[in-house]
């Protein structure tokens, strides 16, 4: 196991505030995630090294466009608002904190879109953010099925999103750490540093939702099915922003 993953596990995954079936369920799912998290770290390191060795600045723009496509303002508004709507009014006493977390995440992720736009602007790749909106590379979501799945959660279960939070937001954290360990470019580092605490927050939300709320087989099932999906061999690749190909 790579040291970056081990450090992440020791600091953020294993410390546990609750006991009970939610925690047990999470730790079982964690075992399933480990090989892919490890692979992600290696991929991100390799991609960062390749980018550095490319001898051109184009990789910065490619990363920023990829990031913008995944978490630009429009994409973020759409994706995170589905979560707000996944709690019915009669469930609000139980799950209002999911809506609060998602309202906050809308704001986090639209800011992340701005960070990618900043790389493009300050790197001299564009003059105005609006130019990005004419570029299909900055607006093609990395995997439609992943985002479409988020959009289906209001029709599935308010906790289903916890699977994406746990599995994918952790990848964002790992990808950021791995990339920062290689790339020395100020623009890229600024973008990654600026969003790393918030990405960790999103991962923690997944961890918390599972530990605190996923207590019965009925509540665990929709989350487990999301893990099943994400862990398929054809599962979504990490975004170009974090060293993936998409």
């Amino acid at each position: 196991m790579h040291a970056i993953l081990k450090d992440f596990l020791d600091k953020w995954v294993y410390p546990t505030g609750f006991t009970g079936p939610g925690v047990d369920f999470r730790l079982r799912q964690t075992e399933r995630c480990l090989p892919l998290w490890d692979k992600l770290v290696l991929q991100a390191l390799k991609a960062a090294e390749t980018d550095l060795a490319s001898g051109s600045d184009e990789y910065k723009a490619a990363r920023a466009r990829g990031g913008y496509a995944a978490e630009g303002p429009f994409m973020s508004l759409k994706q995170m608002s589905t979560q707000i709507l996944s709690v019915s009014t009669d469930q609000q006493p139980k799950y209002i904190d999911l809506q609060r977390m998602r309202a906050r995440q809308i704001w986090d992720e639209v800011k992340h879109g701005q960070l990618h736009a900043d790389v493009m602007l300050r790197g001299g790749f564009i003059k105005r953010e609006e130019e990005l909106m004419d570029d299909p590379r900055a607006n093609t979501q990395p995997k439609l099925s992943y985002f479409g799945m988020t959009a289906m959660f209001p029709h599935i279960h308010p906790l289903a999103r916890a699977g994406q939070h746990y599995y994918n937001e952790s990848m964002a954290c790992l990808g950021i750490t791995a990339t920062l360990s290689v790339i020395d470019d100020d623009l890229i580092r600024h973008q990654l540093h600026s969003q790393s605490a918030e990405e960790l927050m999103h991962f923690m939300e997944g961890k918390y939702q599972i530990d605190a709320y996923a207590l019965t087989p009925e509540d665990q099932k929709p989350i487990e099915e999301v893990f099943d999906f994400l862990l398929r061999p054809w599962a979504p690749e990490p975004s170009r922003a974090l060293g993936g190909a998409a």
Binding site: F18, T19, G20, A197, K207, L215
Partner: protein
Amino acid sequence: MCYVVCREIEINAVVVAPSSQHFLEIDERCTYPGCTVCLMYCPAEGSIVETKTGRSMVPPPQEVWTENKRWPRVP
């Protein structure tokens, strides 16, 4: 995450501060070191500090997440 966690365990020690920045504040209702549960869900390294010792509680030191410090959840 402290505000979400603390409300869920019904201690309610974390409040939105009445200032324009709306920071989160932990008030006197916090029962630390009796309770340490939110520390395990805080993502901001170094952001919660033990007043007595000055040491950072994030990420949580080993001894705060032992079995007897954890909050039991039953369905």
